[in-house]
Protein backbone atom coordinates (compact mmCIF):
# COMPACT_ATOMS: atom_id res chain seq x y z
CA UNK A 1 0.00 0.00 0.00
CA UNK A 2 1.27 3.44 -0.94
CA UNK A 3 1.73 5.79 2.03
CA UNK A 4 1.49 9.55 1.78
CA UNK A 5 4.80 11.28 2.58
CA UNK A 6 4.68 13.20 5.86
CA UNK A 7 5.50 16.55 4.31
CA UNK A 8 2.35 16.29 2.16
CA UNK A 9 0.22 15.85 5.28
CA UNK A 10 1.59 19.07 6.71
CA UNK A 11 1.84 20.89 3.40
CA UNK A 12 -0.76 23.55 4.25
CA UNK A 13 0.93 24.30 7.57
CA UNK A 14 4.29 24.58 5.81
CA UNK A 15 2.70 27.12 3.44
CA UNK A 16 1.29 29.08 6.36
CA UNK A 17 4.55 29.24 8.30
CA UNK A 18 6.49 30.12 5.15
CA UNK A 19 4.32 33.13 4.39
CA UNK A 20 4.38 34.20 8.05
CA UNK A 21 8.18 34.09 8.05
CA UNK A 22 8.39 36.05 4.79
CA UNK A 23 5.88 38.64 6.06
CA UNK A 24 7.72 39.04 9.37
CA UNK A 25 10.95 39.44 7.42
CA UNK A 26 9.39 42.30 5.44
CA UNK A 27 8.07 43.94 8.62
CA UNK A 28 11.41 43.68 10.44
CA UNK A 29 13.28 45.24 7.55
CA UNK A 30 10.62 47.82 6.75
CA UNK A 31 13.08 50.68 6.37
CA UNK A 32 15.60 48.72 4.32
CA UNK A 33 16.55 49.72 0.79
CA UNK A 34 15.32 46.31 -0.39
CA UNK A 35 11.78 47.11 0.73
CA UNK A 36 12.05 50.61 -0.76
CA UNK A 37 13.11 49.16 -4.11
CA UNK A 38 10.26 46.63 -4.07
CA UNK A 39 7.82 49.37 -3.16
CA UNK A 40 9.11 51.54 -6.02
CA UNK A 41 8.44 48.62 -8.40
CA UNK A 42 4.93 48.31 -6.92
CA UNK A 43 4.31 52.00 -7.55
CA UNK A 44 5.63 51.69 -11.12
CA UNK A 45 3.28 48.75 -11.74
CA UNK A 46 0.38 50.77 -10.34
CA UNK A 47 1.22 53.72 -12.59
CA UNK A 48 0.67 51.41 -15.59
CA UNK A 49 -2.96 50.77 -14.64
CA UNK A 50 -3.62 54.13 -13.04
CA UNK A 51 -5.93 56.15 -15.20
CA UNK A 52 -7.67 59.38 -14.36
CA UNK A 53 -11.23 58.10 -14.80
CA UNK A 54 -13.06 61.19 -13.61
CA UNK A 55 -10.82 64.03 -14.72
CA UNK A 56 -13.63 65.77 -16.60
CA UNK A 57 -15.63 68.41 -14.79
CA UNK A 58 -18.73 70.34 -15.58
CA UNK A 59 -18.16 73.48 -17.67
CA UNK A 60 -19.80 75.85 -15.20
CA UNK A 61 -17.74 74.34 -12.38
CA UNK A 62 -14.56 75.06 -14.33
CA UNK A 63 -15.71 78.60 -15.15
CA UNK A 64 -16.39 79.32 -11.48
CA UNK A 65 -13.00 77.91 -10.59
CA UNK A 66 -11.28 80.11 -13.20
CA UNK A 67 -13.07 83.25 -11.91
CA UNK A 68 -12.09 82.34 -8.33
CA UNK A 69 -8.48 81.75 -9.33
CA UNK A 70 -8.26 85.02 -11.28
CA UNK A 71 -9.58 86.95 -8.29
CA UNK A 72 -7.14 85.19 -6.03
CA UNK A 73 -4.30 85.87 -8.47
CA UNK A 74 -4.92 89.61 -8.54
CA UNK A 75 -5.15 89.82 -4.74
CA UNK A 76 -2.02 87.71 -4.35
CA UNK A 77 -0.13 89.77 -6.91
CA UNK A 78 -0.75 93.04 -5.05
CA UNK A 79 0.33 91.37 -1.80
CA UNK A 80 3.37 89.86 -3.48
CA UNK A 81 4.63 93.30 -4.55
CA UNK A 82 4.39 94.51 -0.94
CA UNK A 83 6.11 91.41 0.39
CA UNK A 84 8.83 91.49 -2.27
CA UNK A 85 9.98 94.89 -1.03
CA UNK A 86 9.97 93.69 2.57
CA UNK A 87 11.79 90.51 1.53
CA UNK A 88 14.53 92.44 -0.28
CA UNK A 89 14.95 94.65 2.76
CA UNK A 90 15.10 91.58 4.99
CA UNK A 91 17.81 89.99 2.81
CA UNK A 92 19.88 93.21 2.83
CA UNK A 93 19.64 93.45 6.61
CA UNK A 94 20.52 89.77 7.05
CA UNK A 95 23.57 90.25 4.84
CA UNK A 96 24.61 93.30 6.89
CA UNK A 97 24.19 91.35 10.15
CA UNK A 98 25.79 88.19 8.66
CA UNK A 99 22.75 86.02 9.46
CA UNK A 100 22.05 82.89 7.36
CA UNK A 101 19.68 83.55 4.49
CA UNK A 102 16.33 81.71 4.61
CA UNK A 103 15.83 78.65 2.38
CA UNK A 104 13.82 79.09 -0.77
CA UNK A 105 11.46 76.54 -2.28
CA UNK A 106 10.20 75.34 -5.61
CA UNK A 107 6.86 73.61 -6.12
CA UNK A 108 6.01 70.56 -8.20
CA UNK A 109 2.36 70.10 -9.12
CA UNK A 110 0.75 66.65 -8.79
CA UNK A 111 -2.69 65.06 -8.78
CA UNK A 112 -3.96 62.37 -6.47
CA UNK A 113 -3.49 58.95 -8.08
CA UNK A 114 -5.00 56.87 -5.29
CA UNK A 115 -6.24 57.46 -1.77
CA UNK A 116 -6.00 55.32 1.36
CA UNK A 117 -8.33 52.40 0.57
CA UNK A 118 -9.14 51.52 4.17
CA UNK A 119 -8.82 53.05 7.58
CA UNK A 120 -5.63 51.19 8.50
CA UNK A 121 -3.66 53.09 5.92
CA UNK A 122 -2.84 56.75 6.18
CA UNK A 123 -1.07 57.13 2.87
CA UNK A 124 -2.07 58.44 -0.55
CA UNK A 125 -0.54 58.19 -4.00
CA UNK A 126 0.34 61.16 -6.22
CA UNK A 127 1.11 61.11 -9.93
CA UNK A 128 4.63 62.52 -9.71
CA UNK A 129 7.74 60.49 -9.04
CA UNK A 130 11.42 60.40 -9.78
CA UNK A 131 10.60 61.72 -13.28
CA UNK A 132 9.82 65.05 -11.59
CA UNK A 133 12.70 64.75 -9.15
CA UNK A 134 10.47 63.79 -6.20
CA UNK A 135 12.44 62.24 -3.36
CA UNK A 136 11.83 60.73 0.04
CA UNK A 137 10.99 63.30 2.77
CA UNK A 138 9.76 65.94 0.32
CA UNK A 139 6.84 67.80 1.89
CA UNK A 140 3.45 67.72 0.17
CA UNK A 141 0.98 70.58 0.60
CA UNK A 142 -2.32 71.67 -0.87
CA UNK A 143 -4.03 75.06 -0.99
CA UNK A 144 -5.38 74.34 2.51
CA UNK A 145 -2.14 73.39 4.24
CA UNK A 146 0.17 70.47 4.91
CA UNK A 147 -0.80 67.07 3.50
CA UNK A 148 2.20 64.91 4.44
CA UNK A 149 5.62 63.74 3.33
CA UNK A 150 6.80 61.50 0.51
CA UNK A 151 7.93 58.11 1.84
CA UNK A 152 8.62 56.32 -1.42
CA UNK A 153 8.87 57.24 -5.09
CA UNK A 154 8.39 55.22 -8.24
CA UNK A 155 9.06 56.68 -11.65
CA UNK A 156 5.59 58.21 -12.10
CA UNK A 157 3.89 57.67 -8.75
CA UNK A 158 4.92 58.52 -5.17
CA UNK A 159 3.57 57.35 -1.85
CA UNK A 160 2.74 60.11 0.63
CA UNK A 161 2.32 59.52 4.35
CA UNK A 162 -0.42 61.82 5.64
CA UNK A 163 0.20 64.08 8.64
CA UNK A 164 -2.74 62.34 10.32
CA UNK A 165 -0.70 59.12 10.63
CA UNK A 166 -0.35 58.47 14.38
CA UNK A 167 3.33 57.58 13.99
CA UNK A 168 4.07 61.24 13.18
CA UNK A 169 5.35 63.68 15.75
CA UNK A 170 5.56 67.13 14.19
CA UNK A 171 6.96 70.33 15.69
CA UNK A 172 4.33 73.06 15.50
CA UNK A 173 3.76 76.58 16.79
CA UNK A 174 0.65 78.54 17.67
CA UNK A 175 -0.44 81.62 15.75
CA UNK A 176 -0.70 84.26 18.48
CA UNK A 177 1.59 83.26 21.32
CA UNK A 178 4.08 81.53 18.95
CA UNK A 179 4.52 78.77 21.52
CA UNK A 180 6.20 75.62 20.19
CA UNK A 181 4.76 72.18 20.82
CA UNK A 182 4.67 68.66 19.46
CA UNK A 183 1.65 67.59 17.43
CA UNK A 184 0.59 63.95 17.73
CA UNK A 185 -2.29 62.78 15.49
CA UNK A 186 -5.08 61.11 17.45
CA UNK A 187 -7.71 60.27 14.84
CA UNK A 188 -8.83 60.75 11.26
CA UNK A 189 -9.20 64.52 11.48
CA UNK A 190 -7.80 65.65 14.79
CA UNK A 191 -4.61 65.67 16.84
CA UNK A 192 -3.32 66.82 20.18
CA UNK A 193 -0.50 69.19 20.98
CA UNK A 194 1.86 68.46 23.81
CA UNK A 195 4.63 70.37 25.56
CA UNK A 196 2.84 73.73 25.76
CA UNK A 197 2.74 74.94 29.35
CA UNK A 198 -0.41 76.03 31.19
CA UNK A 199 0.91 79.58 31.46
CA UNK A 200 0.80 80.04 27.67
CA UNK A 201 -2.41 81.72 26.49
CA UNK A 202 -4.07 79.60 23.78
CA UNK A 203 -7.52 80.31 22.39
CA UNK A 204 -10.04 78.20 20.51
CA UNK A 205 -9.90 78.68 16.70
CA UNK A 206 -6.25 79.78 16.92
CA UNK A 207 -4.32 78.55 13.90
CA UNK A 208 -1.47 76.05 14.23
CA UNK A 209 1.54 76.20 11.90
CA UNK A 210 4.67 74.12 11.41
CA UNK A 211 7.49 75.28 13.68
CA UNK A 212 10.52 77.24 12.58
CA UNK A 213 13.07 74.59 13.50
CA UNK A 214 11.72 71.47 11.79
CA UNK A 215 14.29 69.75 9.58
CA UNK A 216 11.64 68.30 7.27
CA UNK A 217 8.69 70.71 7.25
CA UNK A 218 9.28 74.31 6.10
CA UNK A 219 8.15 76.83 8.73
CA UNK A 220 4.77 78.53 8.67
CA UNK A 221 2.68 75.91 6.86
CA UNK A 222 -0.89 75.73 8.12
CA UNK A 223 -1.65 72.48 9.93
CA UNK A 224 -4.95 72.99 11.77
CA UNK A 225 -6.87 75.03 14.29
CA UNK A 226 -7.48 74.65 18.00
CA UNK A 227 -10.86 73.13 18.92
CA UNK A 228 -10.41 72.78 22.68
CA UNK A 229 -7.96 73.82 25.39
CA UNK A 230 -7.91 72.44 28.90
CA UNK A 231 -5.78 72.93 32.00
CA UNK A 232 -7.16 69.78 33.66
CA UNK A 233 -4.03 67.70 33.00
CA UNK A 234 -2.00 66.67 36.05
CA UNK A 235 1.20 67.82 34.35
CA UNK A 236 2.44 71.37 33.80
CA UNK A 237 1.23 71.25 30.20
CA UNK A 238 -2.07 72.14 28.62
CA UNK A 239 -4.27 69.58 26.87
CA UNK A 240 -4.79 71.06 23.40
CA UNK A 241 -6.90 69.38 20.78
CA UNK A 242 -6.73 70.57 17.17
CA UNK A 243 -8.62 69.77 13.98
CA UNK A 244 -6.74 69.41 10.70
CA UNK A 245 -7.73 72.09 8.21
CA UNK A 246 -7.12 69.62 5.43
CA UNK A 247 -9.94 67.19 4.57
CA UNK A 248 -7.81 64.28 3.48
CA UNK A 249 -10.61 62.57 1.55
CA UNK A 250 -11.27 65.62 -0.58
CA UNK A 251 -7.79 66.45 -1.83
CA UNK A 252 -7.49 66.56 -5.62
CA UNK A 253 -4.38 68.58 -6.37
CA UNK A 254 -1.19 68.94 -4.36
CA UNK A 255 2.23 70.55 -4.58
CA UNK A 256 5.46 68.90 -3.58
CA UNK A 257 7.90 71.34 -1.99
CA UNK A 258 11.51 71.05 -2.99
CA UNK A 259 13.81 72.87 -0.62
CA UNK A 260 16.61 74.88 -2.21
CA UNK A 261 19.11 75.71 0.51
CA UNK A 262 20.40 79.25 0.45
CA UNK A 263 24.13 79.76 0.45
Amino acid sequence: MKTTPKYKLYREWIYLFSVIIVSVFFIMFNDSSFNDTLSAYGLDAYSLINYDYFSFREKHELENEIIGLKTKLITSESERIKFAEAYDENIRLRELLAIDLPDSFEFVYAKIAGSDPNSYVRTILINAGTNKNIEENDVVISDKGVVGIVINSGENVSKVKLISDPSNKIAVRTENSRANGIMIPAGHDHAQIEEITKTTPITVNEKIYTADFSTIYPPGLLVGEVVSVSDSSATINKKIRIRFIQKFDQIEDVFVIKRKSAK
Binding site: I20, S23, S39, N118, R122, K159, P166, S167
Partner: protein, 155 residues
Protein backbone atom coordinates in the same frame (compact mmCIF):
# COMPACT_ATOMS: atom_id res chain seq x y z
CA UNK B 1 -9.66 25.39 -11.83
CA UNK B 2 -7.29 27.85 -13.52
CA UNK B 3 -10.29 29.67 -14.94
CA UNK B 4 -11.63 30.16 -11.41
CA UNK B 5 -8.30 31.51 -10.18
CA UNK B 6 -8.14 33.90 -13.13
CA UNK B 7 -11.67 35.04 -12.37
CA UNK B 8 -10.73 35.69 -8.73
CA UNK B 9 -7.59 37.52 -9.85
CA UNK B 10 -9.56 39.78 -12.15
CA UNK B 11 -12.17 40.58 -9.47
CA UNK B 12 -9.38 41.24 -6.99
CA UNK B 13 -7.76 43.70 -9.39
CA UNK B 14 -11.08 45.51 -9.80
CA UNK B 15 -11.65 45.63 -6.02
CA UNK B 16 -8.13 46.99 -5.47
CA UNK B 17 -8.54 49.69 -8.11
CA UNK B 18 -12.00 50.58 -6.86
CA UNK B 19 -10.83 50.94 -3.27
CA UNK B 20 -7.77 52.99 -4.27
CA UNK B 21 -9.73 55.33 -6.52
CA UNK B 22 -13.14 55.70 -4.92
CA UNK B 23 -12.68 55.02 -1.21
CA UNK B 24 -13.69 58.61 -0.41
CA UNK B 25 -17.17 57.90 -1.77
CA UNK B 26 -18.01 55.33 0.89
CA UNK B 27 -16.00 56.76 3.81
CA UNK B 28 -18.10 57.60 6.87
CA UNK B 29 -16.31 60.12 9.13
CA UNK B 30 -13.03 58.83 7.71
CA UNK B 31 -13.88 55.19 8.45
CA UNK B 32 -13.57 52.87 5.48
CA UNK B 33 -14.28 49.16 5.13
CA UNK B 34 -11.59 46.65 4.16
CA UNK B 35 -13.05 45.45 0.86
CA UNK B 36 -10.07 43.25 0.02
CA UNK B 37 -10.49 41.30 3.23
CA UNK B 38 -14.20 40.73 2.54
CA UNK B 39 -13.33 39.43 -0.90
CA UNK B 40 -10.61 37.12 0.47
CA UNK B 41 -12.83 35.66 3.21
CA UNK B 42 -15.56 35.00 0.65
CA UNK B 43 -13.03 33.36 -1.63
CA UNK B 44 -11.78 31.15 1.21
CA UNK B 45 -15.33 30.09 2.07
CA UNK B 46 -16.11 29.29 -1.56
CA UNK B 47 -12.89 27.38 -2.16
CA UNK B 48 -11.79 25.95 1.21
CA UNK B 49 -8.24 24.82 0.37
CA UNK B 50 -5.98 26.31 3.06
CA UNK B 51 -2.78 26.07 1.00
CA UNK B 52 -4.38 27.99 -1.88
CA UNK B 53 -6.17 30.48 0.37
CA UNK B 54 -2.98 31.33 2.25
CA UNK B 55 -1.19 32.16 -1.00
CA UNK B 56 -4.06 34.34 -2.16
CA UNK B 57 -3.99 36.17 1.16
CA UNK B 58 -0.24 36.60 1.07
CA UNK B 59 0.08 37.87 -2.49
CA UNK B 60 -2.93 40.18 -2.20
CA UNK B 61 -1.53 41.62 1.01
CA UNK B 62 2.01 42.08 -0.26
CA UNK B 63 0.84 43.77 -3.48
CA UNK B 64 -1.38 46.06 -1.43
CA UNK B 65 1.50 46.83 0.94
CA UNK B 66 3.90 47.56 -1.91
CA UNK B 67 1.48 49.94 -3.59
CA UNK B 68 0.12 51.93 -0.68
CA UNK B 69 1.09 50.32 2.63
CA UNK B 70 3.30 52.05 5.14
CA UNK B 71 4.58 48.94 6.95
CA UNK B 72 5.35 46.41 4.22
CA UNK B 73 4.38 42.86 5.21
CA UNK B 74 1.72 43.54 7.82
CA UNK B 75 -1.29 43.24 5.50
CA UNK B 76 0.12 40.10 3.89
CA UNK B 77 0.66 38.57 7.33
CA UNK B 78 -2.84 39.39 8.47
CA UNK B 79 -4.60 38.33 5.26
CA UNK B 80 -2.63 35.05 5.07
CA UNK B 81 -3.61 34.02 8.59
CA UNK B 82 -7.27 34.99 8.14
CA UNK B 83 -7.55 33.21 4.78
CA UNK B 84 -5.81 30.10 6.06
CA UNK B 85 -7.99 29.63 9.12
CA UNK B 86 -11.20 30.53 7.29
CA UNK B 87 -10.52 27.87 4.66
CA UNK B 88 -9.29 25.42 7.32
CA UNK B 89 -12.45 25.84 9.39
CA UNK B 90 -14.77 25.66 6.37
CA UNK B 91 -13.10 22.47 5.17
CA UNK B 92 -13.86 20.64 8.41
CA UNK B 93 -17.60 20.98 7.95
CA UNK B 94 -19.72 20.47 4.87
CA UNK B 95 -22.38 22.99 5.89
CA UNK B 96 -21.98 26.20 7.90
CA UNK B 97 -25.17 27.65 9.39
CA UNK B 98 -25.50 31.40 8.93
CA UNK B 99 -24.60 32.33 12.52
CA UNK B 100 -21.34 30.34 12.29
CA UNK B 101 -20.58 31.99 8.96
CA UNK B 102 -21.19 35.38 10.57
CA UNK B 103 -18.82 34.42 13.37
CA UNK B 104 -16.14 33.54 10.79
CA UNK B 105 -16.46 37.08 9.41
CA UNK B 106 -16.45 38.60 12.91
CA UNK B 107 -13.29 36.77 13.99
CA UNK B 108 -11.51 37.30 10.67
CA UNK B 109 -12.27 40.99 10.37
CA UNK B 110 -11.59 41.83 14.01
CA UNK B 111 -8.37 39.81 14.11
CA UNK B 112 -7.14 41.57 10.98
CA UNK B 113 -8.08 45.00 12.36
CA UNK B 114 -6.32 44.38 15.67
CA UNK B 115 -3.16 43.00 14.05
CA UNK B 116 -2.80 45.67 11.38
CA UNK B 117 -3.81 48.61 13.56
CA UNK B 118 -1.53 47.59 16.40
CA UNK B 119 1.43 47.89 14.05
CA UNK B 120 0.48 50.73 11.70
CA UNK B 121 -1.12 52.90 14.38
CA UNK B 122 1.43 52.06 17.06
CA UNK B 123 1.79 55.75 17.90
CA UNK B 124 -1.59 55.67 19.67
CA UNK B 125 -2.37 54.07 23.02
CA UNK B 126 -4.15 50.71 22.56
CA UNK B 127 -7.51 51.75 24.03
CA UNK B 128 -7.67 54.85 21.81
CA UNK B 129 -6.65 52.76 18.82
CA UNK B 130 -9.42 50.31 19.71
CA UNK B 131 -12.09 52.98 20.01
CA UNK B 132 -11.00 55.27 17.17
CA UNK B 133 -9.92 52.73 14.57
CA UNK B 134 -10.31 49.02 15.31
CA UNK B 135 -13.98 48.88 16.34
CA UNK B 136 -15.35 51.40 13.78
CA UNK B 137 -13.39 49.82 10.90
CA UNK B 138 -14.37 46.29 11.91
CA UNK B 139 -18.02 47.26 12.32
CA UNK B 140 -18.15 48.94 8.91
CA UNK B 141 -16.32 46.07 7.21
CA UNK B 142 -18.65 43.54 8.87
CA UNK B 143 -21.72 45.46 7.84
CA UNK B 144 -20.63 45.47 4.19
CA UNK B 145 -19.61 41.79 4.41
CA UNK B 146 -22.97 40.75 5.83
CA UNK B 147 -24.91 42.77 3.27
CA UNK B 148 -22.99 41.06 0.47
CA UNK B 149 -23.44 37.70 2.22
CA UNK B 150 -27.21 38.25 2.42
CA UNK B 151 -27.62 39.02 -1.27
CA UNK B 152 -24.98 36.65 -2.58
CA UNK B 153 -24.35 33.87 -0.05
CA UNK B 154 -21.14 31.87 -0.21
CA UNK B 155 -21.26 28.09 -0.66
Amino acid sequence: MIRDQLKYGFILLLVTLFSLKFSALYAVYGVKPDLLLIFLIRRSLNDPQPQVAVLWGFFTGIIFDLIIGDVIGITSLSYSIVCFFTAFYKRTTSYLPSYKRTLVYVFGVFFSAVLINSVTMSGLPFYRNLVAFMIPCSAYTLMIALIIQTFKPTK
